[in-house]
Amino acid sequence: MAARGDPSGPPGAAAFDAFVREYQDMVYAVAVRLLANDADAEDVAQTVFLRAYERFADIHGQPTAPGWLKTVATNLCLNHLERYRARWRFFSELGEVGDQPFEATSAAEPPDAALDAAERQARLEAALRELPPHQRVPIVLFHFEHLGYEDIARTLGVSVGKVKTDMHRGRLALRRWLS
């Protein structure tokens, strides 16, 4: 597969370069919202594109390419979080008893009514990142990746009831930053 406009370069190099430029923000956004960590998100995004390069002949130019990238990014992020899952399950169970410290923004000062839209969005994004993983991950999968409750529960290996409870607590923590 020769890259158009780059006859002297290695085959596919220019096409893959354009592919990365086109989708890097989308892949990074999925990763950084799921992981809430810039460095980890960049590592995962790089791995996603390396996987894409291995199958570039199959996915390049296909309408399913963005979905494929999002799915791979999501799975890699969940694998990344898997090693901490035992820990945040423990925290989650504590949270069910009613502990407030895990709702990070609940103790924050109420937002200034005069905040402009951009500032409010920035604080909402920050509040989303501050949520504990068991609340943040299902919220991101639901609101950004448009997965259903059952799919999220199956993906995370927990019950639908727990997903709904965690998401409700996460939404309550975000409520103060809603316009």
Binding site: A29, L50, H143, L172
Partner: protein, 151 residues
Amino acid sequence: MTMHPEELTRLVDEALGQLPLPRAPRSLHPRVMAAVTPQIHGRPWFTWSWPAQVAAMVCLAVIVTGVTWLEPRLVLDLTQWVPEWMVGVTAQISAVAETGSAVGRVVQVTWSGVVLPIAKLVLLLTVALCTACAACLAALGRMTPGGVSQT
């Protein structure tokens, strides 16, 4: 203020939907392209799969052996067709070829007499060490920081 969960879901969905897409850091694109460049230009021999490495070594050995054994005859045949002023040159080439042939025999004797007897032992030792390392890494990979082990 109490809010119905469905209303809260709708408000959160609306607010999160308005968030701008986080921009990838500038370092991501160069990192990705640097990582795939070796795949584009070809990987070094030591990163090939082991069957490819063995096949490459066998091919190289066949070529070297063939040239070592065949070249003296070729040189002798060619001397009938070259002018006299090149005879000295061909004699030197022939001497080099004979030297190469002798070196080939030495390598062959060294291989069969020294390397081959211990090769199996080294191979077994290497496989055992690699297996032990893989087992240790797998065990470490299942441990979470802080000493909590996943089951």
